[in-house]
């Protein structure tokens, strides 16, 4: 198996006719099938194995029984509200939402590409604007609406870790904000 038949057949008839050949049995074992089997099993284990084991991401929720007077107040200059909607859409506004909704803007996940602004760049810009006080003053409020999914929520919380945002919270979206998202998505089509 592991060699090519080179012919030469039978090893000659040195002893002439009638003399019984004492055949020397080779002790060489053909290992090819064993190698085949070995690699077959390797392939099996490679396919079934899960090399990267999952990791744990910490999430702390606020105690919502705490009275509102005791809650931390966020500075308006340092507030950034991010809203999530269906199809990976992100909307955001800085500070307070203007009555006419003029500071309500849309963004995409990750870095900016082309005209679309990435949420990462928005956070970085905001941090730069605040300068040294960013660690203390920057508060990101995350408000997913009912159409967003779990992946987006995890991604945006991850974005906080990636950009070193110290204060962020997962908050229920307000009626006004959800209406704004709905109208924006309605007109965007």
């Amino acid at each position: 198996m592991a060699d090519i038949d080179t012919g030469g057949g039978g090893g000659g008839h040195k002893k002439g006719p009638g003399v019984k050949k004492s055949k020397k049995l080779s002790t060489r074992v053909d290992l090819t099938p064993m190698v085949d089997l070995g690699f077959l099993l390797i392939t099996f284990f490679i396919f079934t194995t899960t090399m990267s084991s999952p990791t744990a991401m910490k999430l702390n929720m606020p105690d919502d029984t705490v009275k509102s007077e005791d809650q931390n107040k966020a500075k308006e200059s340092g507030a950034l509200t991010i809203m999530l909607s269906k199809n990976d859409h992100i909307y955001y506004y800085e500070g307070k939402l203007a009555d006419d909704g003029s500071n309500f803007k849309s963004a995409i996940f990750g870095k900016s590409s082309g005209d679309a602004k990435g949420i990462r760049d928005i956070i970085i810009e905001k941090k730069q604007k605040l300068g040294a006080s960013a660690d203390n003053d920057l508060v990101v409020v995350i408000k997913p609406n009912e159409e967003s999914n779990f992946k987006n929520t995890v991604d945006i919380i991850d974005e906080m870790t990636i950009n070193g945002v110290k204060k962020y919270a997962l908050v229920k979206i307000s009626e006004v904000e959800n209406m704004l998202i709905k109208t924006t998505e309605g007109t965007a089509k």
Binding site: T50, S53, A56
Partner: protein, 221 residues
């Protein structure tokens, strides 16, 4: 002119070395392999840059899939038994010892049925359990949130001591209301710290975290 004689060399190749390598690799993969544990629901978790390992001790795991079905998994044998005993007594489900044992076993891969269906789940055989499609624990709203009762019972048998590790495992496409309903079930019971199970991902280059990690600093909590 004499003919140049080409010596006929044997083409026999010694496969022993090859074989050795094959089996060395094989033994490596066999030892490195961790088979996926049985799971009641197929869940594809999102990715995150977090690098913490998953704790296995005293771990209460809630899984939710993209259809919004919710499952609970708990691995402490003693507490599991007490948990079912208490549920049985409190809600008058009428579970027999045998059914409790089956449920105990089923909880290793996840239980996702309303309380009213616990008895029928417990009476199933091992083979049936693997095939059965569980509808999920109801978490729709605060009125009909049975997960809240599960956690309340768990806290009650543990004399109010919270499980050290509360883990949530969600599918990429699970919708946000499911996630927030699960969170609500915990926060209503005074549990505020969670660990989300995710797949590892590298920090994108040029970001704060990337710089912090490449300069050798530990992640700040």
């Amino acid at each position: 002119m004499p003919k140049v004689k080409i010596p006929r060399k044997s083409t026999w190749v010694d496969m022993t070395a090859f074989c050795d390598v094959a089996f060395l690799l094989l033994s490596f993969f066999m030892l490195a392999t961790q088979f996926k544990p049985d799971e009641a629901a197929k869940v594809e978790t999102p990715k995150s840059v977090s690098s913490d390992t998953i704790p296995t001790k005293d771990a209460f795991l809630v899984t939710f899939d993209k259809g919004g079905r919710v499952f609970v998994t708990y691995d402490d044998v003693e507490k599991k038994k007490a948990l079912f005993d208490k549920l049985n007594a409190d809600r008058g489900i009428g579970l027999t010892d045998n059914e409790i044992r089956t449920l105990n076993k089923a909880m290793e891969s996840g239980i996702g049925v309303p309380f009213t269906m616990l008895k029928s789940l417990g009476s199933k055989s091992k083979e049936e359990l693997q095939r059965v499609q569980q509808p999920g624990i109801p978490v729709q709203d605060s009125v009909n949130n049975e997960l809240k009762d599960w956690i309340a019972t768990l806290l009650a048998i543990n004399s109010g001591v919270k499980p050290k590790n509360v883990m949530l495992k969600g599918d990429n496409d699970a919708n946000y209301p499911t996630f927030i309903n699960v969170l609500d079930a915990f926060t209503k019971n005074g549990i505020y710290n969670f660990k989300l199970i995710t797949m590892p991902e590298n920090a994108p280059s040029g970001t704060y975290l990337y710089d912090a990690r490449s300069s050798g600093k530990k992640d700040k909590k």
